[in-house]
C-alpha cells in the first residue's frame, strides 16, 4: 500500500492504493466517486472513461499509481462551476441520450474529449469515435443526436429523423 496523490476535479485528493489498484477502483472506493462505472472490467465498454491530463482514458486500463500527480476529471467534475449542467450534460438530458444511464458518464466523458479535439464533428465522426463506448439500451440514436446538439450543430437532420 502506498499513498497516491492526484488532482481530481480540481481538488487535491489522496488515498491508499496497492501497486495493482486500478484507477477506476481508486476513484470509486478510495475517493467515493461512484459516477465512473465498471461495465466490463476488461476495457471494452467505455463506462469507466475519465480524463487524465486532458486525455480520455478507460480507468479500468490504468493503475492508480500511474495517475500519481496527474490532473484527473470524472463525470462528477463536468458540471459548470455554478453547479448547472454543462452543454454536453444538458444535451444528453434534452435529447434523451440515456435510458438506464449506466453508460452515460462514460459517454459524456468521451463526448467531451471528442469535442475538445473536433468541435464540429460530422455524424460519422461521432459514431466512429464512440466505437469504444457500448450502450445496450438506446440504440445510440439519441446519443449521437445529443453530441451533435452539444457541438452547436443542427440535429433536425440527424439520421433523417
Amino acid at each position: 500500500m502506498a499513498t497516491i496523490k492526484m488532482t481530481v476535479n480540481g481538488r487535491e485528493r489522496s488515498g491508499e492504493a496497492e501497486g495493482r489498484t486500478l484507477l477506476v477502483d481508486f476513484l470509486r472506493q478510495e475517493l467515493n466517486l461512484t459516477g465512473t462505472h465498471v461495465g466490463c472490467d476488461t476495457s471494452q465498454c467505455g463506462a469507466c472513461v475519465v480524463h487524465v491530463n486532458g486525455e480520455a482514458v478507460k480507468a479500468c486500463t490504468m493503475f492508480a499509481a500511474e495517475a500519481e500527480g496527474a490532473e484527473v476529471v470524472t463525470v462528477e467534475g463536468m458540471a459548470n462551476p455554478d453547479g448547472s449542467l454543462s452543454v454536453i450534460q444538458q444535451a444528453f438530458q434534452d435529447h434523451h441520450g440515456l435510458q438506464c444511464g449506466f453508460c452515460t458518464p462514460g459517454m459524456i466523458m468521451s463526448a467531451a474529449a471528442l469535442l475538445k479535439d473536433n468541435p464540429k464533428p460530422t455524424e460519422a465522426e461521432v459514431r466512429h469515435y464512440l466505437e469504444g463506448n457500448i450502450c445496450r439500451c438506446t440504440g445510440y440514436h439519441n446519443i449521437v443526436k445529443a453530441i451533435m446538439a452539444a457541438s452547436g450543430q443542427d440535429v433536425s437532420a440527424v439520421a433523417a429523423e
Binding site: G35, C100, H128, I143
Partner: protein, 766 residues
C-alpha cells in the same frame, strides 16, 4: 396534463452528473464483506474431492461456505426448487456455483475463489438439441402440442408444400451494469436487501427461504438497474441469497457484484431455438396448413423455460391468420447455463420461425415477400369489430380484435418508398458483382399480458403531504425504460399538477407487497393503473371535503393546471392539501389493478391469454460483401404502435433501442460453447454487441397515431418487447442480398455473422 408529453427521463440530471446510484454505488459500511463464487470447471459430473484450504488461507478471506453450511433452503429457482444456490455434489454446467467466499474486498474474494482444488468424476455433457432429444432430456414431461384445424389434411391438399429448418442462437443480455446485491443485517435477524433486480418480491421470497424466516423479515429495495432486459428477472436470486446468509452469519453487511466474465459465465441467456417447418400454400402464398416443431435448449434448470417456450408457441402465428396449424414444443434440458427471460420471452423466437416461412414461400413462388405476408395477415379490426368478419382467431382460439398491421404496412411502404427502392436495388445489384444490396421487411403482432394469469396484478402507494408534495411508490422497477417517469406523469395528471411535485421513490417490498416482476412489457399498463387508482381515491376524498366546505356539488371540484377549482373558488393544490389535512382527511391510499377479461387454459392451449396486441413494422436495407460476408445496415424505417403514447420521447427511445438489440441478436451476437460445454464468448471482446457505428446510417422511427381499443391507462400500449422483433427486418435484408447472388434460397441461419452470410451466398449460388 402531463401524460402524452415527451418529458425527459426523471433520473436524467442524476445520470449526466454521475450522482445516480446503482447498487454498487451505495456507500458501503466500513466492515462490509464482498463475495465471489467458486464455480464448476466441467459441464457434467460429480465432485469427488474439494480442497478449499488454499481459499480459506488466501489474503482477506473471512469465510468460505459450501452447500453443507447453508442453514435453510439451498435453492434459488424461480419455479420448481431445482436450482441449488451451491452445488450439492453434482454439477450441471461450466460456471455452476459450488462454494462462496467472503473476503474484505471484491478482488480479494475473486482471487481467493480461483485457488480451490476440486476434482470431479466427469460425465459426457448433453449440449446440443440432438443430444438432448436422443437422451430424452425433456422438461415438462415431453413435447407439448397445441393445434387448430386439421393440419395433416390441409398440408396434403395444398397446391405447394415446403419444408425447412431455421436455427437461431441465444443472446447475452449484457445489461451494462452486471448483477449486484447488498444485504445489511438488522436487529432480530431481519435483513434489508438492495438488489439490481426486476423482481424485488422474488428476491424477498428466496432470501426468506434461505434464512428460514417469514417474508416480513426481509425488505428489498431497488431504485434502478443499469439495464435488465429480462436478465434480472430471476438471475439475481443467487447473489441476494448468498449475501443474506453470510450477512446473518457474520453480522456484517455483505455485497456481491459479478465481474463481467462471471456474469456471462454464470447467468442464463436468451433461449436458442431450432424450428422445423412443413408448410402448404397456394399460388398467392396463402398458407393452407403449417406444422412447426420448436426445439429449445433450456439449460440445466427449469427457471422460466416453460412460459418462455409457451410464448414462442403463442407467437408462432405472428401476424398471420392460420386456419390449420400444429405447433409442437420441445423443452430440452442441457448442460449449459439455465436459459432465462430475455426481452420478448420466447415471442421473438416463435415469430422468427413464421417470418422465415413467409420469406421462403415468397422465394419459392417468385413473389414479393411483403405481398406474401399481406395475403396472410389477420383481418383488420374495423370489419372484425363491426361483426363483418368472423373466424379471425389465433391457433390458441383467441379472437384478434385489434389488428392494424395492414394499414401500418401500407403507410410504411409508402413513406419508405419501397417499390422504387426495390427496383433501384435490383438495378444496383445487376451492376455490382461483388457488393450486393438487399431489403427486408418484418411485421410484429405481440401479445400483451403475463401468460401466467395471476401475475397480471399490481399495487401502488401514494401519499399527499400537507405541503402539496406527492410521494409515489408502485411495484414496478426502473431499468432505464422510463417506467417511473411514465407513472409519475399519470399521477401528476390525476391531481392536475406539474410532474415536478411527484417524488419518485425506490421500489420497496415494504411499501407495496406481492408484486410481479417488471416484465412482459407490462410495467406501465399495470403500475400506471394501480397508481391511478390510488391517486383517484385520494382525489375523491379531497373533493368530498372541499365540496362540503364550500357548499358545492362534488362534481364541481376540478383538479387541473396546478389548481383546485371548487365551484367558483380556486386554490392551489398546496392549499387544498393543507385544508384537507386540517379537516382530517386521509391523504394516503393504496391502489390496486388486475388486468380484466383474461382466461387461459395452458394445458389445452386455448383461451384469451392476452389483453391486447401491440403492432409494428420495419423495413431495412443492407449491403453485403460477397467475398467476405461483411455487411452494413444502410437504412431502417420503422412504424410502431404504442396506442396513445404516455410519453412519445421515451417510447421512441424504446423502439430504437429494441430494434438495435433485436438486430444484434440476429446478426453479430454469437454465443459459442465448445464441445466441453465451456462458453467461449464470455466477454465483449469475443461477444459482439452492436456498437455506435453499427446502427443504421439512416434510421426513421415513427409512432403510429392511434389508441388502444382496450381500456388501458390513457389508452396507451406496452412498448418494451414488441419492437425488439423489428430487428428481423435486418436479417431478412441480409438474406435478400444473399439471394441476389444466385437462384437458390439462401437458408440463412441466425446470427447472420459474416461467416454465415458467406455460406448463404454460396448456397444461393448452388
Amino acid at each position: 396534463m402531463s401524460v402524452t408529453k415527451p418529458l425527459p427521463h426523471d433520473s436524467g440530471p442524476l445520470h449526466v452528473t454521475g450522482q445516480a446510484r446503482y447498487v454498487d454505488d451505495i456507500p458501503t459500511p466500513a466492515n462490509c464483506l464482498h463475495l465471489a463464487f467458486g464455480t464448476s470447471s466441467i459441464a457434467r459430473g460429480t465432485v469427488t474431492a474439494m480442497d478449499l484450504d488454499p481459499v480459506r488461507t488466501a489474503p482477506g478471506v473471512v469465510a468460505v461456505l459450501t452447500a453443507d453450511d447453508l442453514p435453510f433452503a439451498n435453492d434459488v429457482s424461480p419455479s420448481i426448487h431445482d436450482e441449488p444456490l451451491l452445488s450439492v455434489g453434482t454439477v450441471h454446467y461450466v460456471g455452476q456455483p459450488i462454494f462462496v467466499v467472503a473476503a474484505t474486498s471484491h478482488h480479494a474474494a475473486r482471487r481467493a475463489a480461483a485457488k480451490a482444488r476440486i476434482t470431479y468424476a466427469e460425465e459426457a455433457p448433453i449440449l446440443t438439441v440432438d443430444q438432448a432429444v436422443a437422451a430424452g432430456q425433456y422438461f415438462d414431461d415431453g413435447p407439448r402440442v397445441w393445434q387448430k384445424g386439421d393440419t395433416d389434411a390441409a398440408l396434403a391438399a395444398a397446391p405447394h408444400r415446403l419444408r425447412g429448418r431455421l436455427e437461431m442462437g441465444g443472446q447475452e443480455h449484457f445489461y451494462l451494469e452486471s448483477h449486484a446485491s447488498m444485504v445489511a443485517p438488522q436487529e432480530g435477524g431481519d435483513v434489508v436487501v438492495y438488489s439490481s433486480t426486476q423482481h424485488p418480491t422474488e428476491i424477498q421470497h428466496k432470501v426468506a427461504e434461505a434464512l428460514g424466516v417469514p417474508m416480513n423479515a426481509v425488505r428489498v429495495e431497488a431504485r434502478r438497474m443499469g439495464g435488465g432486459f429480462g436478465g434480472k428477472e430471476s438471475q439475481g436470486n443467487a447473489l441476494a441469497c448468498a449475501c443474506a446468509v453470510i450477512a446473518v452469519k457474520t453480522g456484517r453487511p455483505v455485497k456481491m457484484r459479478y465481474d463481467r466474465d462471471d456474469d456471462m459465465t454464470i447467468t442464463g441467456k436468451r433461449h436458442d431455438f431450432r424450428i422445423d417447418y412443413d408448410v402448404g400454400f397456394d399460388d398467392t402464398g396463402r398458407i393452407k396448413g403449417i406444422d412447426f416443431q420448436q426445439y429449445t435448449r433450456g439449460g440445466w434448470a427449469l427457471d422460466l423455460t416453460i412460459p418462455v417456450a409457451d410464448r414462442a408457441m403463442l407467437h408462432a402465428d405472428n401476424a398471420y391468420l392460420l386456419d390449420h396449424a400444429r405447433i409442437t414444443s420441445h423443452r430440452l434440458r442441457t448442460n449449459t447455463q439455465s436459459a432465462t427471460a430475455y426481452r420478448g420471452f420466447g415471442g421473438p423466437q416463435g415469430i422468427f420461425g413464421i417470418e422465415r416461412v413467409m420469406d421462403h414461400i415468397a422465394h419459392t413462388l417468385g413473389l414479393d415477400p411483403i405481398a406474401v405476408r399481406q395475403v396472410n395477415y389477420y383481418h383488420n379490426m374495423g370489419p372484425v369489430r363491426a361483426g363483418k368478419v368472423s373466424g379471425n382467431t389465433t391457433p390458441y382460439g383467441m379472437e384478434v380484435r385489434d389488428f392494424i398491421l395492414d394499414e401500418m404496412t401500407e403507410k410504411l411502404l409508402a413513406d419508405a418508398n419501397y417499390a422504387d427502392r426495390k427496383a433501384a436495388i435490383a438495378d444496383w445489384n445487376a451492376k455490382n458483382p461483388i457488393l450486393k444490396r438487399g431489403i427486408g421487411f418484418s411485421p410484429v403482432k405481440f401479445g400483451i399480458s403475463f401468460t401466467l394469469t395471476h401475475l397480471n396484478q399490481a399495487g401502488a402507494l401514494v401519499h399527499v403531504y400537507q405541503d402539496g408534495s406527492i410521494h409515489l411508490n408502485h411495484g414496478g422497477t426502473e431499468m432505464g425504460q422510463g417506467l417511473f417517469q411514465k407513472v409519475a406523469q399519470v399521477a401528476a395528471s390525476r391531481f392536475g399538477v406539474d410532474v415536478s411535485l411527484v417524488k419518485i421513490t425506490a421500489t420497496d417490498t415494504g411499501k407495496v407487497p406481492n408484486t410481479s416482476a417488471t416484465a412482459a412489457s407490462s410495467g406501465s399498463d399495470l403500475n400506471g393503473m394501480a397508481a391511478k387508482a390510488a391517486c383517484d381515491t385520494i382525489r375523491d376524498r379531497m373533493a368530498n371535503c372541499l365540496a362540503e366546505l364550500h357548499q358545492c356539488p362534488v362534481e364541481r371540484v376540478r383538479f387541473e393546471d396546478g389548481k383546485v377549482r371548487v365551484g367558483d373558488n380556486e386554490m392551489t393544490f398546496e392549499q387544498a392539501a393543507a385544508t384537507c389535512y386540517q379537516n382530517r382527511v386521509s391523504l394516503s391510499a393504496t391502489g390496486f389493478y388486475k388486468t380484466p377479461d383474461l382466461s387461459w387454459d395452458r394445458a389445452k392451449g386455448q383461451g384469451r391469454p392476452f389483453f391486447y396486441f401491440s403492432h409494428g413494422a420495419a423495413l431495412t436495407e443492407v449491403v453485403i460483401d460477397t467475398l467476405t460476408g461483411e455487411n452494413r445496415i444502410l437504412r431502417t424505417d420503422i412504424i410502431h404502435d404504442v396506442g396513445r403514447s404516455l410519453n412519445p420521447a421515451l417510447d421512441k427511445g424504446q423502439v430504437e433501442g429494441a430494434f438495435v438489440q433485436g438486430a444484434g441478436w440476429l446478426t453479430t451476437e454469437e454465443l459459442v460453447w465448445d464441445d466441453k460445454g465451456r462458453l467461449r464468448t464470455h466477454a465483449p471482446s469475443t461477444y459482439k454487441i452492436p456498437a455506435c457505428s453499427d446502427r443504421p446510417e439512416v434510421f426513421n422511427v415513427e409512432l403510429w397515431d392511434g389508441e388502444n381499443p382496450e381500456a388501458t391507462i390513457y389508452r396507451s400500449k406496452a412498448v418494451g418487447e414488441p419492437p425488439f422483433n423489428l430487428g428481423m427486418s435486418a436479417f431478412f435484408a441480409l438474406s435478400d442480398a444473399a439471394a441476389a447472388c444466385g437462384p437458390n434460397y439462401p437458408m440463412l441461419d441466425a446470427p447472420a455473422t459474416a461467416e454465415r452470410v458467406l455460406q448463404a451466398v454460396k448456397r444461393a449460388r448452388g
